[in-house]
């Protein structure tokens, strides 16, 4: 049963050690009246017990290293170990973010060169690695668009157009930046409804936020027309880079007409997701938006790199220092290992893998959009509703077979949706095994739907009561609390 580290405390035990105390330091103590009054209620554990505690927790978690993880929109590709080796080099980990430029030329080179490479890859002309995650990259991009309009005396542009298939972060970001959002519906082919877009464009339009391929895994064949439409209305286009993987060295957002974009390095560029972060969400832009990029900038003068901490029109600081350096360091290595040649292979194979799975899964699910997909695709698990089995149940049953579930119920516009993204990393064998598992689950649905509806059966816990968690929130444990658990 789940015991927390707090439940395991044993009086007086500890793992810590500190440098030897020196006599000369002893006489110093802070003013008595400002000292902490209560004990710090942290557990007391030896290093062995701590190690076993976390090893035990790790075993209750699925990762890419241990399981096939076709979680749509998250690009769960291999996280190469060489990246981890690189990020742990003391030459990088022991550098302070405010060190003088001459003492961190290596770091500054990484930043400068990665921005140049990403610009080249995406058809953009400037960028910043400061945003700490995709959502922050979106926020920066939208604020840059706001600053651009402000600088031209067009502050009346208060609306952002956002397709109804968009990631939830898009409308949340636009709202956070002070814009109102205008949803654009999706047509029967899975593309943005061009007529509705045209009708929505006006002198109030600040811009459009778009993922292409969209969250249905479909590339918009009318992308150039969409861009023209928004530009003619005086708006700018923001590219949500969540789905960049299938386009690497195939086509460039800049050439599609986008003005500013973000990239999720933790998706396309293989940096580990770490159970929910840290990520990194660089923002790239066309020349006319460069003055608004967040601080700091790195410039190259001769062979020397310099950090610029001030600028006139910048939107300012977005992170404590220079963003998630150790994350974009990994992306840098990934990029130089692949080159354009290797990146193109990623794009092509991710699309082949997805289309292969999609073709094979036709036998078991409704496929709402028959045209070729990009790196991911949606299926509808609505044919089993008469047995009382929903997409959620299939997802849970997959866990029993050692496969992490695909994304479910997203995009919201597809009924009983499974969003599946195999990535280029996975072998044909793994994909075939997945298909066999689906086939087996479908058979189970016919023969014993209850088995599927009550899955998972083989993990450390069965289905969890999320309603209870929200209604009677228990959000922490205490050192001295008698937890009501069976030990």
């Amino acid at each position: 049963m789940a015991k927390t580290a707090f439940n395991k405390s044993q009086k007086g035990q500890h793992a810590w050690s500190l440098p030897k105390e020196e006599e000369a330091f002893h006489s110093f103590s802070p003013p008595k009246e400002s000292l902490r009054e209560t004990e710090i209620e942290l557990p007391e554990l030896s290093e062995l017990d701590l190690t076993r505690h976390f090893s035990g927790l790790a075993r209750k978690n699925m990762g890419i290293d241990t399981h096939f993880y076709p979680l749509g929109s998250c690009t769960m590709k291999l996280n190469p170990r060489v990246n981890e080796w690189c990020a742990a080099l003391p030459g990088f980990t022991r550098t302070h973010p405010l060190a003088p430029d001459e003492a961190v030329q290596g770091n500054l080179r990484v930043i400068y060169e990665l921005i140049s490479f990403l610009c080249q890859l995406c058809g953009m002309e400037g960028g910043s690695l400061a945003p700490n995650a995709g959502a922050q990259g979106e926020f920066v991009g939208v604020q840059m668009i706001a600053a651009y309009h402000r600088s031209r005396g067009e502050s009346h542009r208060t609306e952002f157009l956002i397709p109804d298939s968009a990631h939830g972060t898009n409308p949340a970001t636009a709202a956070m930046a002070g814009f109102s959002t205008v949803p654009i519906p999706t047509d029967h082919k899975g593309d943005m409804d061009l007529k509705k877009l045209k009708a929505a464009c006006s002198e109030r339009t600040a811009g459009l936020m778009l993922t292409n391929p969209n969250t249905l895994g479909l590339f918009s064949p009318v992308i150039l027309e969409i861009a023209r439409c928004v530009h003619e209305a005086g708006g700018l286009l923001f590219y949500d880079g969540a789905n960049l993987n299938p386009l690497l060295a195939i086509t460039r957002p800049g050439d599609m007409g986008f003005d500013v974009m973000h990239i999720n390095l933790h998706k396309t560029f293989s940096t580990p997701h770490g159970g929910g972060g840290p990520g990194s969400g660089p923002v790239l832009c066309k020349a006319r938006l460069k003055p608004f990029l967040p601080l700091p900038y790195i410039v190259k003068e001769g062979g020397h790199y310099r950090t610029v901490w001030r600028s006139e029109q910048t939107i300012g600081h977005i992170s404590s220092f220079l963003g998630n350096f150790a994350i974009y360091l990994r992306a840098y290595l990934y990029v130089i290992l692949h080159g354009m040649f290797g990146l193109r292979r990623i794009a092509e194979q991710s699309v082949v893998n997805a289309n292969y799975l999609k073709t094979c899964l036709q036998a078991y699910f409704t496929i709402p959009f028959p045209q070729p997909c990009m790196h991911e695709f949606v299926v509808q698990a609505d044919t089993y509703l008469d047995k009382g089995v929903r997409a959620l149940d299939i997802a849970k049953r997959l866990l029993d077979y050692g496969v992490h579930a695909p994304t479910i119920y997203f995009p919201l516009i597809i009924k009983e949706c499974l969003l599946i993204e195999p990535t280029e990393s996975e072998s044909l064998d793994t994909l075939d095994r997945f298909i066999q598992i689906i086939e087996k689950i479908v058979r189970e649905i016919q023969e014993d739907p209850q088995l599927v509806k009550t899955a998972p059966h083989s993990l450390s816990v069965s289905r969890l009561d999320e309603v209870r968690a929200a209604r009677q929130p228990i959000l922490r444990t205490y050192l001295f609390r008698e937890d009501n658990i069976d030990l």
Binding site: G56, G91, Q136, Q143, A172, G275, G277, L337, T454, R468
Partner: protein, 445 residues
């Protein structure tokens, strides 16, 4: 090189099944004029070549060879070996956000324990699963204070909040109809309490202050709390969390929201990130907390388990009405902080904090005997303080660097009047011999 598994034989079979001759046929939706040609030359590297390149780049950083006294939100602490061992475990490192709780109990329980440890340290009642960094924690807390008191439209921010954090807060507040007032520094380096008393009003949503401040000074938080309470404003306290091992906790001081950066616990400086920002608050504010929160529950058989909870606040449910657009937490960095906090444990955190304080105090005391050196403030400090040199600062810096010491952060970039001043941070990583050497160099050059 690449990490693509399937090669020619598999590709052939897959294309046959799909019913196309060339992968390019799958890209037909892309307008021809924006399609790039397939590169012919392999411009990548082997793993060996990549590793050599990265070693060369790392070697171009000379900083690690210096005795480092830079702090200002990023501190050189010992990182227990256990931290890296746990954080590089595949199941933590390569998992996504725990959307399937049954397959993610390890990470969910770790986050639950992280929330518990942050509460224990700060003396607050609830914590979220972490946000990006200290700066975004401040910004999110400021937004929280506006959401909880919708009619209030003013925030008072201490001038001694980390200037980068302030920049990010301003950035997040830009789209809000809110008046931001800066609380100036008084002569002792603390915030001007009289200014606060004069300017605080029933319109004030919150006071956002840092202690130990950017200038290393312990501020008078309990007194500020009293003033804030009088008008019903919230007090947001930003702090290096290590300070709570020694000084009174945010909860004890009366703060409503405690924020800061977990970096001092188990996270290397690594040129500024990734770190993990913490936000902890009173229970009454929990529904306004941004980002992920993990809660305890039971499974269908009554067994204890953990899930992401209170998700009705979040972007994937609420879209444009969400409390924040944030969707990641810094799970792996938060795990590092948790492992370090547990490694130090109840007694170790106290001793670590005391060690930091004493070594900083020792250096400060010894520097008092050096001619041409003075201090900004005699108010209590933690592990950082501001020192003023009479000699031109670039000469002082050159002198120290020649001896392999990075003596502190020049403050002129942030405060134009502090053009002779360095912000000096001392942690447990500095021995008496190193500190004595600092004093020698300061004295003789």
């Amino acid at each position: 090189m690449d990490f693509v598994s399937n090669q020619e034989p598999q590709l052939k079979r897959m294309l046959e099944k799909i019913g196309v001759a060339d992968p390019l046929e799958l890209f037909e939706a892309i307008p021809k004029k924006i399609l790039l040609p397939r590169p012919i030359q392999d411009d990548g590297l082997s793993e060996f070549e990549g590793m050599r390149r990265m070693e060369q780049i790392a070697a171009a950083n000379t900083f690690p060879s210096f005795d480092n006294y830079l702090g200002a939100g990023s501190y050189e602490h010992h990182v227990p070996a256990l931290v890296h061992a746990i954080c590089s475990k595949s199941e933590f490192l390569t998992a996504y956000t725990p959307y399937q709780p049954e397959a993610s109990q390890g990470m969910l329980q770790s986050i639950f324990e992280y929330q518990s440890a942050i509460c224990a340290l700060t003396g607050m009642e609830v914590s979220n699963a972490s946000v990006y960094d200290g700066a975004s924690a401040c910004a999110e807390a400021a937004l929280m204070s506006l959401r909880t008191q919708k009619k209030r439209n003013q925030i008072l921010i201490g001038e001694t909040l980390h200037p980068h954090y302030r920049g990010v807060v301003d950035h997040y507040l830009r789209s809000q109809a809110v008046e931001v007032l800066t609380i100036p520094i008084s002569s002792d380096g603390r915030l001007d309490l009289e200014f606060v008393k004069k300017r605080i009003s029933p319109q004030t949503a919150s006071l956002l202050v840092q202690s130990p401040s950017f200038l290393g000074v312990m501020d008078e938080i309990p007194r500020l709390c009293v003033v804030a309470k009088e008008v019903g404003a919230l007090l947001i306290l930003c702090a290096n969390p290590l300070v709570y091992g020694l000084y009174r906790s945010a909860g004890e001081a009366g703060a409503d929201i405690a924020v800061g950066d977990c970096q001092p616990f188990g996270i290397p400086m690594q040129f500024g990130g990734p770190y993990a920002g913490y936000i902890a608050c009173k229970e009454s504010l929990v529904r306004q907390l941004p980002g992920r929160i993990v809660g305890e529950t039971v499974d269908t058989q009554g067994r204890r388990g953990f899930v992401l909870t209170l998700q009705a606040r979040e972007q994937h449910i609420r879209r444009e009405k969400a409390t924040s657009n944030i969707c990641t937490n810094q799970a792996l960095a938060a795990l590092a902080a948790l492992v370090a906090l547990l490694w130090y444990g109840k007694e170790g955190v106290r001793k670590l904090a005391l060690t930091n304080f004493q070594r900083a105090a020792y250096l400060k005391q010894r520097l008092k005997s050096v001619k041409g050196v003075s201090f900004l403030s005699e108010a209590p400090h933690f592990n950082e303080f501001v020192v003023r040199f009479e000699d031109p600062l670039n000469q002082v810096l050159a002198r120290f660097r020649e001896k392999g010491i990075e003596p502190g952060l020049p403050l002129e970039r942030y405060f134009s009047t502090l053009n002779q001043h360095l912000l000096v941070a001392v942690t447990e990583t500095k021995s008496k011999a190193q500190l004595d050497r600092y004093v020698e160099v300061a004295r003789h050059g």
